[in-house]
């Protein structure tokens, strides 16, 4: 991770220099070949992801399209791009879960559901709609299913990790297999599968299955891990953290029980790269799930991993897992308190290397738009535990961020997309250091559709 940190500084310098060199036009013709200058003072690619409407406005089920432009064009409000008309349709039956290399030159995709669900493909970014497939096909479906939950680890674009959990309720029939009246619920067995994928050579690296155990009390009360996601590598690179969602059954009937108490947020900790010896750690600060949705939910910063939680009755928190691989309960960062709001819910987020992050969230003030609750962006400082709503970005009821996936980090700058469902919007660039917000290229939208980020 240290290496990355250095890279960020370097990249910042490159970007600043690049910004001065590259000109922009209304009709961008992104330069597919890097500047011949051996000194790589070149703007990086910014790949915009757009999700077309399927049946319902904002459902994003009508195809995921990507389109790239360089970072200077992305920053230029006179540039206008139309990914729905000119983009590349990512081969995924449902919304693709995209990842990009740290330099933005490669897009990684694992197809979600459908006939090729679980297939890994990578594309070199060559500007506009040109994405050239590289390497051979490999599928992680045999290990983690055809609708895999996967994330690229921050190890220099070497590895991707995907997870799967299968659950089975266990009962004691009390020696009378035909009589249900004396049966008792024991626990729910949650079997976890974790697979790691070599992103460079397109091969499977490791796969392990293990049982996830909660405390005896939690298990006898009917709690179990029902969904896992968002594997994140710790700073030392020897543990993998996996976010979890808990569900509960009524031990009396074995039927699902949605009214139970919400337990402290939990994370599964595994040895890396062996993927063995899972343990579950529990927070006393945050409650609710840590499995996120479609964008990365936990990041390494300064030796610790910071993780957002969702569905917390006290509003989303950013939790800290220290270098000892345990929750640091002395770190209390409530988004409700920091923003002075209620019911804050982190939808997606991303820190820059300086510990300052952009958070996409909804809260009690969100209006209900065509596709659900309205979203906002905030600038967050992990060290100071402060958060500030970004007011330079326009918000409206149909601006919705639930499916938001990608932020591109370029030094201290974080790129994001802003467009209400069915309306045009823009790329915005947040300078996390100064808080300055720059309105960038226009994003041309189509009816019922939205943008889900930049890579």
């Amino acid at each position: 991770m240290k290496r990355n940190f250095i890279n960020y500084h370097k990249l910042t310098a490159l970007l600043l220099a690049g910004g001065l060199l590259v000109s922009c036009s209304d009709d961008p013709e992104p330069n597919p070949t890097p500047d011949p200058d051996p000194d790589p003072v070149e703007a990086r690619w910014i790949t915009v992801a757009a999700a077309r409407m399927g049946d319902n406005p904002g459902d994003g089920n009508g195809g995921t399209l990507i389109y790239s432009l360089n970072s200077d064009e992305a920053k230029d409000p006179t540039v206008s791009i139309a990914p729905f008309d000119n983009g590349f349709i990512v081969p995924s039956n449902r919304t693709a879960r995209l990842q990009s290399s740290e330099d933005g030159n490669t897009i990684f995709n694992i197809s979600y559901a459908g006939d090729t669900g679980g297939n890994y493909t990578k594309y070199s970014v060559e500007g506009g709609q040109t994405f050239t497939q590289e390497g051979t096909s490999v599928s992680i479906a045999p290990y983690v299913g055809s609708a895999p939950r996967w994330i690229k680890l921050f190890d220099g674009d070497q590895t991707g990790a995907a997870v799967y959990v299968d659950t089975e309720h266990q009962f004691d029939d009390n020696g009378t297999p035909d009589d249900a009246s004396d049966d008792t619920y024991i626990r729910t067995e949650a079997t976890m599968g974790v697979v790691t994928l070599d992103l460079v050579n397109s091969t499977i690296v490791e796969f392990q299955e293990s049982s996830i155990q909660l405390t005896e009390e939690e298990e006898s009360n009917g709690y179990y891990v029902s969904r896992i996601d968002m594997p994140t590598l710790n700073a030392a690179g020897d543990k993998l953290y996996i976010g979890a969602r808990l569900s509960k059954v009524d031990p009396a009937t074995g039927e699902s029980d949605g009214d139970g108490e919400i337990l402290g947020s939990k994370t599964i900790v595994l040895d890396y790269p062996s993927l063995l010896n899972p343990t579950v750690i529990s927070s006393t600060v945050g409650y609710g799930n840590t499995n996120g949705y479609r964008s990365i939910n936990a990041f390494e910063y300064n030796g610790s991993v910071y993780q957002a939680n969702q569905g917390d009755p006290n509003g989303s928190h950013i939790l800290k897992i220290g270098a000892n691989n345990q929750y640091d309960d002395s770190y209390v960062f409530s988004l409700d308190n920091a923003l002075g709001t209620d019911d804050a819910y982190i939808l997606a987020w991303r820190p820059a290397a300086n510990g300052k992050a952009v958070v996409a969230y909804r809260d009690a003030s969100s209006e209900t738009g065509v596709a659900g609750a309205q979203g906002f962006f905030a600038l967050v400082d992990l060290e100071a535990r402060t958060a500030q709503k970004i007011t330079d970005i326009p918000y409206e009821a149909d601006f919705y961020l639930f499916q938001y996936q990608g932020f591109a980090v370029h030094g201290n700058d974080i790129y994001l997309t802003q467009a209400p469902v069915g309306k045009n919007g823009n790329i915005y660039v947040v300078d996390t250091e100064t808080g300055n917000v720059t309105k960038g290229a226009e994003l041309v939208n189509v009816e019922g559709s939205h943008f889900i980020g930049v890579f």
């Binding site: 459902d59 000119n86 081969p91 599928s139 249900a180 009396a252 009937t253 969702q310 065509v370």
Partner: protein, 803 residues
């Protein structure tokens, strides 16, 4: 009067109505022209005893039970001048050949009316309806579903070969919008083992396809139309048997027979069928690969290895036919079972299934009672009821992973491995069983006030009590799993008007729907700690109505128009949810509604010398409101354990069907049809084209008959069929300049079949040979799911009529 003749002709032709009288004989005759050509499909009528016969393709006809004595016989046909001759019946069976004059000055008005078959009559009734005659198909190697697929406006989408899951689409509406009936009984009563995949065409007399507007006698909540399978209901003694064998180890056999004791009218009727196929056809494509070390994929051409299908079943009925108190009174038993291996889920993925299969069976008692002129002339009654059990089981317990080469797959380390989910389909092992008690009764009463006015009342009751269990779940879990019962009552009232000498007919109907869904959820009483059943029920009521008008603008040009406000009631999952999928009850969900309109013309039949042709077209719109669907996932519900069905936006389907039938000299025939539509839905104000819909289809079929080619009085028929399906995409339409679209496309498809059948001189034995998909083109109904390539089938039929 004309209507009366219709009915009688109809009775003769299809019911073979006859009564038994002592001292009577049968007349077996042959009608020929002066040049020796047979007079086909002519009506032969003995007025004095009101007995009819109809000549067949060879000019042969039979009239049974004619009292001894002299009789005046009238013959009428489109091709002859009306003719009369005398015959004396004085033996048990009399044979006679009559030579008739070919008609020179055709009186079209009269000929049209008299020459009209039941098929034509229905097709001209005003409904957007096609009647599919199974007579020819039953002698060939043709599945019932294939026959439907060549029908205009109908698209069958099948997820593989024989026995695989089928979805029916009528003018763009599909799924639960299309209801299927067997003799007017909803097919849901019969289940998987007795359906269009298993019933051979020889057991079926005809299939009626009603598009958008469904007549009152087929009462169900059919939003987009109905397919009614009319099983053989002749009361003439007959026996036919067939056996077919072909590619993919496909064996199909059927026997149908009926014996009627002439004196008592006691009738015994039975049908048996058996189908088997390995379905091991070759497939290839982006997901047909084997994986090696590290997960490296190698594409292969594979044979499907877990796709076998077997279905067997039959109907046995006894009772009385054509007796004083009943035209038909039959009680019987329908039994069927099937076994279907499942090779993959909705898509072909790199993980083919091994040993996942489904079994179903049905055991049903049935009762039929039909009587015309009950108590008084013009009052007809028709009762059809069944009661029984049907069961379905899905088994998936094998954890080992298999590859497309049919062998155990290896993981990235090179070892054979088991899936984390311990089953073939993701989601865990299952031995789930659904047991249903089903009952369905259809009652129809019609009264013809006179030749112009008729009133019909129909009622359909159906009930399904369902119990779900899974042997792999604990007894406790099975105990607390809810059960869902469904009772449906649909009442319809129809008024039929016939005026202007049959040139104008109208049909006005209203339907009343009532559905009760009962939810039994076992729970523990918090006070007594005892197991109690929480019973809740919800009742949905709605009304629908519609009309049809048929008007002959000219004798050969008929305007057909129909409209209906159609209703689809929410099904049990939509009302009560589904425990397995975490869908909860929404008792306030409203039915889906659709306003359906058809406007059609029928031109024909025109005869120019030996050329006959008919052209028919239909323009249609379907306007659906309150579509039922699941809500989209949002941050507010993503972690909810539960979701519920809701009424969403609207939808429209607009398009046209057209069909041309041409025959030359009765031995060359061409049928061409085309169907095209636009299907759009509107949700929250945004309209989109519905993806994954084959919206453009065309079919052409040709037939040519040679007579006496190999043996004298034999017949050789050649058949050719071409199926065309336009390209369609799994994704909603994309922008003008996007790339990557081809991944989601189902390409344009053209498949061609060839067939030959040989009718041996005695007319008892028919042999057929068919080649399907002669050019071995890849065909898909669903994205990447390949259907069988070139296949060969041979079939032998043996039939005896009138023994």
């Amino acid at each position: 009067m004309i209507r009366g003749i219709f009915l009688q002709i109809f009775c003769i032709f299809f019911l073979g109505l006859s009564t038994s009288i002592a001292q009577s004989g049968n007349l077996s005759g042959k009608l020929i022209f002066e040049d020796g050509q047979p007079v086909t499909f002519a009506t032969v009528y003995i007025h004095a005893v009101k007995k009819h016969g109809l000549s067949d393709e060879s000019g042969n006809y039979t009239i049974q039970d004619i009292p001894f004595g002299k009789h005046r016989v009238q013959v009428s046909s489109i091709e002859i001048e009306q003719n009369e001759f005398e015959v004396e019946i004085n033996t048990d069976s009399k044979t006679l050949t009559t030579t008739l004059k070919r008609s020179k000055d055709t009186n079209l008005d009269e000929v049209e009316v008299i020459g009209e078959s039941y098929k034509t009559e229905i097709e001209k009734s005003g409904f957007a309806v096609n009647v599919i005659d199974t007579k020819e198909a039953s002698l060939r190697n043709i599945q019932t579903n294939e026959l439907l697929n060549t029908t205009v406006g109908v698209k069958i989408r099948q997820n593989g070969g024989l026995g695989s899951e089928v979805n029916y689409s009528l003018n763009g509406l599909s799924g639960s919008a299309v209801r299927i009936f067997i003799d007017g009984i909803p097919i849901s009563a019969y289940g998987n083992s007795f359906n269009l995949n298993s019933i051979p065409p020889s057991m079926i007399k005809e299939i009626e396809v009603y598009k958008g507007v469904v007549p009152g006698h087929l009462a169900d909540d059919a939003l987009g139309g109905a397919i009614n399978i009319v099983l053989q209901n002749s009361t003439q003694s007959n026996l036919n048997a067939s056996i077919s064998y072909g590619s993919f180890n496909t064996l199909q056999a059927s026997v149908n027979g009926l014996y009627r004791f002439k004196d008592s009218g006691f009738t015994v009727k039975g049908s048996l069928f058996h189908n088997y196929s390995d379905n091991d056809y070759k497939v290839s494509g982006r997901s047909v690969v084997v994986t090696g070390l590290g997960g490296v994929q190698t594409p292969i051409e594979a044979r499907r290895f877990n796709d076998a299908y077997r279905s067997s079943g039959g109907i046995f009925q006894i009772g009385y036919t054509d007796v004083k108190w009943a035209d038909q009174f039959l009680i019987g038993f329908t039994g069927s079972s099937d076994y279907k291996e499942i090779q993959h889920g909705a898509f072909m993925t790199i993980m083919p299934y091994k040993d996942r299969f489904m079994e179903s069976d049905a055991k049903l008692g049935n009762l039929i009672y039909q009587k015309r002129d009950l108590f008084t002339k013009g009052l007809d009654i028709n009762i059809n009821a069944l009661y029984g059990k049907r069961n379905r089981m899905v088994s998936d317990t094998l954890a080992w992973a298999y590859a497309w080469n049919g062998e155990k797959a290896i993981d990235f380390r090179g070892n054979e491995y088991e899936y984390s989910w311990r089953s073939q389909q993701e989601g865990g092992p299952t031995l789930s069983r659904i047991n249903r008690d089903v009952a369905s009764a259809r009652t129809g009463l019609s009264y013809a006030i006179n030749d112009h006015h008729k009133v019909l009342v129909n009622h359909v009751f159906s009930s399904i009590d369902r119990v779900d269990t899974d042997a792999l779940r604990s007894v406790l879990e099975n105990t607390f799993r809810g059960t869902r019962d469904l009772r449906k009552n649909i009442l319809s009232l129809t008024y039929e008007l016939n005026a202007m000498d049959g040139r104008f007919s109208a049909n006005l109907f209203g339907k009343y729907y009532q559905q009760e869904t009962i939810n039994i959820d076992p729970d523990i009483d918090p006070e007594t700690n005892e197991l109690i059943d929480e019973v809740t029920s919800a009742t949905t009521k709605d009304e629908g109505y519609g009309f049809t008008v048929s008007y002959a603008l000219l004798p050969n040009v008929t305007l057909l128009t129909s409209a209906e406000k159609a209703v689809r009631l929410p099904n049990e999952s939509e009302v009560f949810g589904n425990d397995g999928d975490n869908v909860v009850a929404n008792p306030s969900i409203r039915p889906e509604l659709s306003n359906n309109f058809n406007l059609g013309f029928r031109f024909g039949r025109f005869n120019i010398e030996k050329h006959d042709f008919t052209v028919s077209t239909n323009l249609f719109t379907r306007n659906i409101k309150d579509r039922i669907g699941l809500p989209i996932e949002t941050s507010l519900n993503v972690n909810d354990e539960i979701i519920l069905y809701e009424n969403q936006g609207n939808g429209t389907s607009k398009g046209f069907d057209a069909q041309v039938d041409y025959t030359y000299n009765n031995n060359f025939g061409v049928n061409f049809n085309v169907s095209r539509f636009d299907l759009k839905i509107v949700n929250r104000g945004v309209e989109i084209d519905v993806p994954n819909t084959p919206f453009f289809t065309m079919n052409t079929s040709m037939r040519y008959s040679f007579k006496d080619l190999i043996q004298k009085s034999s017949r050789l028929n050649l058949f050719y069929t071409l199926y065309f399906t336009g390209e369609f995409s799994y994704l909603v339409p994309q922008g003008s300049n996007t790339v990557g679209d081809e991944f989601f496309k189902v390409p344009q498809q053209i498949a061609q079949d060839l067939g030959v059948s040989y009718v041996f001189p005695t007319d008892k034995l028919v042999m057929s040979f068919d080649i399907k998909n002669i050019f071995d083109k890849p065909v898909y109904d669903n994205l990447s799911v390949q259907k069988p390539g070139r296949a060969f089938y041979l079939k032998l039929n043996y039939r005896i009529n009138n023994y």
